[in-house]
Amino acid sequence: MAEPKITLAEVEHVARLARLDLSQAEKERMRSQLDAILTYIDKLRQLDTDNVEPTSHAIPMVNVMREDEVRPCLPTEAMLANAPERASDFFRVPRIIEE
């Protein structure tokens, strides 16, 4: 069998960055799915792309801009409607704990 493309430790790292709390079984499943994806990327890598410019977007467009004009905001009440918790007109969030 080929060398694994991604280790369990790497899955745990990515999960932590994404704030995902995965069970042991989920980690295993993710590892094998990500492994399959990365194996497929390897297949794509076999294409000769020496003369192809790297691209970040699927559409050949540049310079999509708007003029600097103020438009109406949404009312504060509407913006706060989904707040899990609020204090007057503020969103209230749990204390920030540095890792």
């Binding site: 960055l17 801009m65 438009r71 204090a87 007109d89 503020f90």
Partner: protein, 485 residues
């Protein structure tokens, strides 16, 4: 053994809020001080599925600033997502620029004690500001934080210097020069208290003569030029002491505690930042056409450096005067307005630098706008000296009174009877009295001690409460002294 001498290496990172009307990627207003969460929409609150659209003026402000700093503007530039989790940014990434910033490789001339040095600009890029957190209690003891997203999405320009700065004083000078340019350009209001001009610094030490960089420490929370200078002075000393004691410097972020006069380590993170930058898929790349840049170049105002040079070339001012007068656009405008009415540039410069700046609370736009002595009034006061109405000495008193009352010079001179004594008969009799009362000085003069003339002039001025015309006093004294010899 002699103690190792260290060289201080400083790099500065400035975040400037741009003076656009609307936010970077949506149409919400950027005005400061609105009620909490009253200036937001789904885009700047980072709701799922929303689409940002680039504010053209923000890009143009970036290009103008890049031109003013002599940067190379990248023909192709892109926005990128910078990922991190913090409640000031609910979509969990900030739209910023990474590998393809708007501009790179510029420089800024910074002057300390009359010596100008170039500080390199590494990069200039655009991004969005984040929301504002208010902690319930301190960061350590807070159980919760309150979030206001009005600031979220306000256009920010980040300008990163090269590690070219060599002292805390030079760091402050760099920031002053950069702030002046942004204000001249009209792209940022430069208000440090309201946070529209913010600064972080990286500082490290290395033994003099070494070419390698030492371990750097990032300093945050410096909200005035004075604090930047004090924080960096403190940190340079702290690091020098640690190194001298054989300790190692830890790469970390420290906060400047202005009240306590020291920097304090923020709790170090278990993990290094892993921002996972990638191109923002919702914003297509920018192609900055040369024509666009050229057109924007024609809109650049005269910048502080150019104006300084022009003041030297056109008005024949010493570099010191030119530098001081061009610190703010408003002060330089004031100076030039006086010179237009009174064509003796160096005299005007002396009056602005000593008399005006002594009274003004600052040299910025607001201070000049509230100045009770408009340029025309100062020009008229100076003309009164020239036409012999008042002496230079009296003029200084008159200026103070003008500043207090807002009245013009003529009114004060008239009311207080300050008109200069230039009547040959009246002044002649005063001169005769002085000569009679100072026979010793007269004899000295006739013996060849010419300095005693100055003493006699002083006596006449004293007898006339400074109102005598000095040239006439000189003339009358000399006439009488040489007649009698």
């Amino acid at each position: 053994m002699t103690a190792t001498e260290y060289e201080v290496i400083i790099g500065l990172e400035v975040h400037a809020q741009l003076l656009t009307r609307s936010k970077m990627f949506c149409g919400c207003p950027t005005a400061f001080g609105g009620a909490p969460n009253s200036q937001t929409c789904p885009v700047c609150q980072g709701m799922p599925g929303v689409l940002p659209v680039i504010n053209r003026r923000a890009i143009e402000f970036g290009i103008r600033t890049a031109l003013a700093l002599d940067c190379t503007i990248n023909a192709g530039c892109r926005f990128a997502r910078k990922h991190y989790y913090y409640p000031d940014m609910p979509k969990n990434f900030q739209i910023s620029q990474y590998e393809e910033p708007l501009a790179v490789e510029g420089w800024l001339s910074v002057e300390v004690n009359g010596t100008a040095r170039r500080v390199g600009i590494q990069r200039l890029h655009l991004e969005e500001d984040v929301g504002k957190l208010i902690h319930e209690g301190t960061l350590e003891t807070a159980r919760a934080s309150l979030v206001d997203f009005n600031r979220s999405g306000v256009p920010l320009m980040e300008i990163v210097s090269k590690p070219d700065v060599r002292s805390a004083e030079e760091a402050a000078a760099y920031l002053r020069a950069l702030r002046a340019i942004l204000i001249y350009l009209g792209v940022c209001d430069g208000n440090m208290e309201e946070g529209s001009f913010r600064c972080d610094a990286n500082i490290s030490l290395r033994p003099k003569g070494s070419t390698e960089y030492g371990v750097k420490v990032e300093i945050k929370n410096m909200n005035s030029f004075k604090n930047v200078q004090r924080a960096l002075e403190f940190e340079a000393q702290r690091q020098a002491k640690a190194l001298a004691a054989g300790e190692r410097i830890v790469q970390e972020t420290r906060l400047w505690e202005a009240d306590k006069d020291y920097t304090l380590s923020m709790r170090s993170k278990e993990y290094a930042h892993d921002y996972r930058y990638f191109p923002e898929p919702d914003l297509v790349p920018l192609r900055v056409e040369q024509r666009w840049v050229d057109r924007l170049r024609t809109t650049l105002p005269e910048l502080p450096g150019e104006r300084r040079q022009r003041f030297v070339a056109r008005y024949g001012l010493p570099a010191y005067d030119a530098d001081l007068l061009t610190q703010s656009r408003a002060l330089a405008d004031y100076y030039e307005a006086v010179v237009r009415e009174y064509a003796k540039p160096k005299v005007v410069s002396n009056w602005v630098m000593s008399e005006l700046l002594r009274e003004l609370p600052g040299d910025d736009e607001a201070a000049i706008a509230r100045c009770p002595v408009p340029p025309l009034n100062l020009a008229r006061l100076l003309a009164l000296i020239d036409n012999g109405t008042i002496s230079g000495k009296i003029a200084k008193d008159v200026f103070e009174k003008m500043y207090r009352s807002g009245e013009d010079a003529e009114a004060i001179v008239k009311r207080e009877g300050l008109r200069q004594l230039a009547d040959v008969d009246v002044l002649g009799s005063v001169v005769d009295q002085v000569l009679g009362a100072n026979a010793g000085a007269v004899a000295d003069w006739r013996k060849g001690k010419k300095q005693s003339l100055g003493f006699l002039v002083g006596q006449v001025m004293k007898a006339t409460q400074g109102k005598a015309n000095p040239a006439l006093v000189n003339q009358l004294l000399l006439e009488r002294l040489s007649k009698g010899s």
